[in-house]
C-alpha cells in the first residue's frame, strides 16, 4: 500500500490547520454560510437531516489496519459507535459535531487519512476495483496510476472550483469492476503491442440524467495520463455549463458537442500540454509502483488438508467459500469479502467493534491491509486458504460472514431518507424488508447472482441504474414510492436498467421483488443467471406478472370515477 512521505503528510496536516481556521472564521461570522459551504463540502462535511455528515476519503478503497482502528476510535469518540461505507469506497459518519471536525481530521491525519475533496464541485476521490493487484483477470495493476492521480487531483489549483463534481475511475482487469462507463472519466488500462495505456471514456454518469460514457481516445500511452486529463478538465472548466446545476456535469457538455467535437477540442488543448513537464516519467511510476509490490506470500504446495476437510464437513463454511471468497492469482490464496450486508442491518454500516475485529483479522491473515468495495463490503485480499476456516469462524461470530455476496440480499443501498437530506424516500427499510423476505439461504443460493441496488432519490448514490434489479425512491404528492428498473448492469457491457412501470408503495416492494424472481425461476434455462434470462425473454413477462390485476394512472382514475 502507498506510504505517505514527508510532503504527503505535511499537506494533510496543513489541511487540518486550514480547515480549523475556516471553521473558526465561520463561527466568528467572518465567513458567511454561503462562503463556508463550498469550503466545508470540499472537506467532506455536509449538513444533513439529523446532524452534519463527515465523509472520509479512502483513496481507491485501500486501507491499513491502523487506519481502520482510527476510524473505530472516531466512531466511538465523536459518533454513535458506527460508520457507513459508501458506494464510492468512502467512510461516512452521520453524527459528528461541526466544531469537532477539525479535531477528527487531526486524529485521522495521524494515520495519513483525510476528508479532502470527498464532496463539492471538485475532483473527487479516485476509485478502482477491490481486487486490484490480486485479481486473476488483471492485465495491469491500476493502483500506482490511481495513486498518481490522487496526488494530481489533490488541491489542483486550476480545478478546485469546477461546474460540478468530477469523478475518475480506473480499471486494470479484463472485466471492468470499477464502473468506468459511468464516470466523468473512465480509464481502462490495457496493453497494445507491448505498450501500456488507457482507453479513455468521458461523460458517463448516473443520477438525474444517466448516460453511458463514450470513448474519446482508444489508446493513450500511460505517460500522458496527467496532461491528457488536464486537457479534458480545462475544456470542461471553461465550457461546462454553470447556469444550471442539473446540466453542469461533463456528460451534458459531451452530449451537447457530440463526442467527436468534444474529443477534437481535447486533442487541440492537449497539443499544448503534451510532452510538457507533467508528462509522467518511468522513475516516478517505479517509485509509486514500489509501494504496491506483492506481499511476502507463502509458498503453498497443493491444497491444505484441513481446509479441504472443513469444506467437506461444514456446508455453511463451503457456502461462504463459494460466495464470499474470490480467485487469487497466487496459488493457495484467496481474496475474502467480509459482508456488510447482514440481514436487518443498514447495508454498508459497520460498528466500531466490528472495525476492530476486521483490523485484527487483516493483521493476522492478510498482511495488515484491506479494501472497501463499491458494493459496500470489506475485502481482505491476501488470505491463505489454510487460514480461511479460522477467519470465517471469527467473521461469523461478528456478523461479517453472511454468505450473500453477489446474491439478492447483498444489496447496495444508499442511506436514503433515514439520513440523507436529498432523499425522496427511505431506502434502508426497503433493503431490510427484502432481506427479511429472502432469509432462506438455500433459496437465495438457488436464485443465484443478482445485483439489487437501491437509491433514495435520483442522485443514484445506490447505483440503482446499474442494478439487475434497481429500486429508486420517488416522491409522489409527498408520499414515498419506489420505481423499479430491470436489466441494468456494471462491467464491460454496462447498461442502464429499464423502468418496468408505475411505482410501488414501500409495503409492496418485497412482493414485487418476489414476483420478479418468480418470473425468472419459471423461465430460466439450466445455469442461466437472472440477467441472461432477462436478456432472453425481455421485460414484458416481468411487467405482466408484477402489474397483474393492477390498474394505475388514468386507468385507475377512471375506475375510481366509475365506482
Amino acid at each position: 500500500m502507498y506510504k505517505y512521505d514527508a510532503i504527503d503528510r505535511q499537506l494533510i496536516n496543513e489541511r487540518v490547520e486550514q480547515f480549523r481556521d475556516q471553521v473558526s472564521r465561520w463561527q466568528s461570522g467572518e465567513l458567511t454560510g454561503d462562503e463556508f459551504r463550498p469550503l466545508r463540502l470540499q472537506n467532506g462535511l455536509y449538513v444533513q437531516r439529523h446532524a452534519p455528515m463527515l465523509r472520509i476519503a479512502v483513496p481507491y478503497g485501500m486501507m491499513n489496519t491502523a487506519q481502520l482502528r482510527k476510524l473505530a476510535f472516531v466512531a466511538r469518540t465523536y459518533d454513535r459507535g458506527y460508520g457507513h461505507f459508501s458506494t464510492r469506497h468512502n467512510c461516512q459518519f452521520n453524527w459528528p459535531k461541526i466544531e469537532d471536525c477539525p479535531d477528527i481530521l487531526g486524529h485521522l491525519a495521524e494515520v495519513d487519512m483525510h476528508a479532502i475533496q470527498t464532496s463539492g464541485n471538485c475532483l473527487r476521490n479516485i476509485t478502482t476495483d477491490q481486487f486490484a493487484g490480486v485479481a486473476a483477470d488483471e492485465v495491469i495493476d491500476p493502483r500506482p496510476l490511481a495513486e498518481i492521480l490522487r496526488q494530481w487531483t489533490t488541491f489542483h489549483p486550476e480545478f478546485a472550483f469546477l461546474p460540478r463534481k468530477f469523478k475518475i475511475a480506473i480499471s486494470g482487469t479484463r472485466e471492468d469492476r470499477a464502473v468506468t462507463w459511468f464516470h466523468d472519466i473512465g480509464l481502462h488500462l490495457k496493453e497494445v503491442n507491448g505498450e501500456t495505456g488507457f482507453t479513455v471514456i468521458v461523460g458517463g454518469g448516473l443520477g438525474r440524467t444517466p448516460i453511458r460514457g463514450q470513448i474519446v481516445r482508444e489508446f493513450l500511452p500511460w505517460q500522458h495520463l496527467l496532461t491528457y486529463c488536464e486537457a479534458i478538465l480545462r475544456v470542461y472548466n471553461r465550457q461546462g455549463r454553470r447556469d444550471n446545476a442539473y446540466k453542469a456535469r461533463i456528460k451534458i457538455l459531451v452530449q451537447a458537442l457530440g463526442v467527436e467535437a468534444f474529443s477534437q477540442l481535447v486533442e487541440e488543448e492537449w497539443a499544448h500540454g503534451k510532452d510538457g513537464p507533467a508528462t509522467l516519467t518511468q522513475a516516478e511510476y517505479d517509485r509509486v509502483a514500489a509501494h504496491f509490490t506483492a506481499p511476502a506470500y507463502a509458498q503453498v504446495a497443493g491444497e491444505d488438508a484441513s481446509f479441504a476437510q472443513h469444506r467437506q464437513d461444514n456446508p455453511a463454511f463451503a457456502r461462504w467459500l463459494e460466495r464470499n471468497t474470490h480467485p487469487h492469482r497466487v496459488a493457495g490464496y484467496r481474496a475474502v469479502t467480509l459482508s456488510l450486508k447482514q440481514h436487518g442491518v443498514a447495508p454498508g454500516d459497520i460498528t466500531a467493534d466490528q472495525m476492530e475485529i476486521v483490523a485484527d483479522l487483516a493483521d493476522h491473515f492478510s498482511f495488515g491491509e484491506l479494501r472497501i468495495s463499491h458494493e459496500q463490503n470489506i475485502i481482505l485480499a491476501d488470505v491463505q486458504e489454510a487460514h480461511l476456516y479460522a477467519l470465517w469462524l471469527t467473521a461469523k461470530g461478528a456478523g461479517l460472514a453472511t454468505p450473500n455476496i453477489g446474491l439478492l440480499t447483498g444489496i447496495i443501498c444508499c442511506p436514503g431518507g433515514d439520513f440523507c437530506d436529498l432523499a425522496n424516500a427511505k431506502s434502508i427499510p426497503i433493503a431490510n424488508a427484502i432481506q427479511a423476505r429472502f432469509d432462506d439461504l438455500d433459496y437465495l443460493f438457488d436464485i443465484g447472482e443478482i445485483d439489487l441496488n437501491i437509491s433514495g432519490c435520483m442522485n443514484a448514490c445506490g447505483h440503482h441504474h446499474v442494478g439487475h434489479i434497481g429500486v429508486l425512491g420517488v416522491d409522489k404528492n409527498e408520499a414515498e414510492f419506489y420505481q423499479v428498473t430491470l436489466g441494468g448492469r456494471q462491467g464491460n457491457d454496462a447498461r442502464l436498467g429499464k423502468v418496468i412501470g408505475p411505482s410501488f408503495s414501500a409495503e409492496e416492494m418485497p412482493d414485487v421483488v418476489e414476483k420478479i424472481i418468480k418470473v425468472y425461476l419459471d423461465n430460466r434455462h439450466a445455469d442461466e443467471r437472472f440477467l441472461d434470462t432477462f436478456d432472453r425473454i425481455g421485460i414484458d413477462p416481468f411487467k405482466n406478472l408484477v402489474y397483474e390485476g393492477r390498474a394505475h394512472g388514468k386507468a385507475k382514475a377512471a375506475q375510481t370515477e366509475a365506482a
Binding site: 472564521r25 467572518e30 496526488q151 489542483h156 486550476e158 510538457g276 513537464p277 516519467t281
Partner: protein
Amino acid sequence: MAQLIKNNAVTADTWKTLELAEGETPESVALPDGDIIFPFAVWQTRKAEIISRHKRIGLLLNSDDRVEDVAADLDYFIVIAVDFPKFVDGRGYSTASLLRQRYGYQGELRAVGDVLHDQLFFMRRVGFDSYALKDGKDVVHALQAGFSSFSDGYQASTSQPQPYFRRRA
C-alpha cells in the same frame, strides 16, 4: 473600494475600472483619462482610440471572455484583471493559466470580484500576482495565512512549472 494585495502588502490601487452605466454601450461610453482598466468589450470596439490616447492600459476579462480573442494584444497591457463573479466560478483559474503559460503574459495579473481569503493560495499558483480582496474581509489575516495554506503542490502550475514528482529528492 476593494483592498488591493500586491507584492505581499496592502497597496493603494492607482487603477480605475471603466464601468458602463445603464444605457451605455462599448461604442458610446466616454473613455476617461488616467490609468484605466477597460472591459474586454470596450477594448474590442475602441482599440485604436484607446491605444492612441493611453500609454498605460489595463484590461478586464469576464469569466466568459475567451483568452484566445485577446492573445495577440497582450503587449499592450500593464495589468489584466480577471473577474470572479462568484468565488465558486472557477473559469478565471483557467484564464490565468492560459495567459501565463500559453501566451506568456508577463504583466500584472489581478484577481477581482468575489475574491476571498480561501482562494488566494490557488490563485497565486495559477499566476495571479495581485488581488482585489472582496470588501469587508480581514485583509491582514488573508495576507498572513491565505497564501501559505500549503507548503507546496503536487501539480505543475504557473508558479511552479515542475510538478512535484520531478522535484522529489
